[in-house]
Amino acid sequence: MNEQSCQKIQPLLAPFVDSETSPQEREQVERHLQGCAVCQSIVDDFAATARLVSTLPTPTLSAGFEAALARRIADSSLAPKPVSLWNKLLAWWEDTAPNGVRVAPTFAVAAVMLLLIGLPTTWLLTGRNVPLGITKQVVATPTTDAASLVASDPAIAELWDEHRSFAAAQPLGDPAQSLGEEN
């Protein structure tokens, strides 16, 4: 197999191992694997990493967890915060709008708000509330550009850079470090 076809197939290897490919993608990967030992070994190793991670033992919460939490809720007289006007509008839109139009509730409601309250306020509210609306839209994004997925993902490179820059300062698994001390 030439390197180019491997590069094209590799972004599909994790979804392939995790049964997250379309039938066409699966067939494409299977065809490639028949002639490529390199990618086959990646598939085997990826499957092995998934198996290893899934065998980690399940930790157990301390017995007093629920009682402590219930006490905390009761003692501090916490109560659910009331629904904001924004959330009411979003909920109203979800309930009333026909299915096909519901794809962009955030933007539709934002338009209403724009008229009602004016740009500055809308900007603030949208900034705080946009993520859920966005999620709904982007989940449906087609991933036909699978070939460029990994190679051209600057966000991942950024994650690694950011991680390296402070990795040494965040000691995972260090029992000496407790949140309680921070608070």
Binding site: Q10, V53, S62, L69, P80, E94, L149, P175, E182
Partner: protein
């Protein structure tokens, strides 16, 4: 009494959420007992510390209660809880980063290049070809490998391999496109493949 009890057992998340929105503490407690172990397991795998994980898990449910009116019915409550948990983990990593600059010496497992002296020592000891690994040692190697991943890659792979979420559920939890989750999991597996190369065929 019995009727109430058997009703509670089969109560859906949606109706528990509605009751929770009206400050019903019984409904809150039912949601807690339904999801506490999953959330704890996720946070524990993210932080690697039992104490931190228990505190953070408490915080997740306090936030769930106070923000329950912000919960949107188009998501599942578990996805929403994982999301709160993930955000709290990220916050705590940030806090720890700022508060403790000198902890790297206490925590040799977490190194920038994954190849510091302590890391090598552990690897050499366990890499001897004829050594039989106990379950515990193997788990420690896996935990170390997970700890070396950037938190967002770690989160994606834990949500998939440990919590059993599908890619689209992970995308919803993290609030990013499906394609981003595909590449995060690819990168996480590629890194784990490297760190765990001596244990893959076992």
């Amino acid at each position: 009494m019995l009727a109430t009890w058997s009703f509670a057992v089969t109560t859906t998340d949606a109706s528990l959420v509605s009751r929770c929105q009206n400050a019903d503490l019984t409904a809150f407690n039912t949601l807690v007992s339904r999801y506490k172990d999953k959330i704890y397991r996720y946070v524990y795998r993210m932080t690697g510390s039992a104490d931190d994980a228990e505190d953070l898990t408490q915080e997740v449910f306090v936030r769930m209660y106070t923000s329950i009116n912000g919960f949107r019915r188009d998501a599942s409550i578990s996805t929403w809880l994982y999301r709160i948990a993930g955000n709290l983990c990220t916050d705590s990593f940030r806090k720890n980063k700022n508060a403790r600059f000198d902890t790297s010496l206490d925590a040799p497992l977490e190194s920038a290049d994954g190849d510091n002296a302590a890391g090598r020592e552990i690897a050499d000891e366990s890499n001897a070809p004829d050594t039989l690994f106990g379950r515990k040692e193997l788990s420690e190697q896996i935990e170390t490998a997970l700890a070396k991943l950037p938190p967002k890659l770690r989160s994606a792979v834990i949500l998939h391999d440990v919590e059993g979420l599908a890619y689209d559920e992970i995308a919803q939890t993290e609030g990013v496109p499906l394609g981003t989750i595909k590449s995060r999991i690819f990168n996480a597996r590629a890194a784990l493949r490297e760190s765990l190369k001596n244990y893959l065929s076992a």
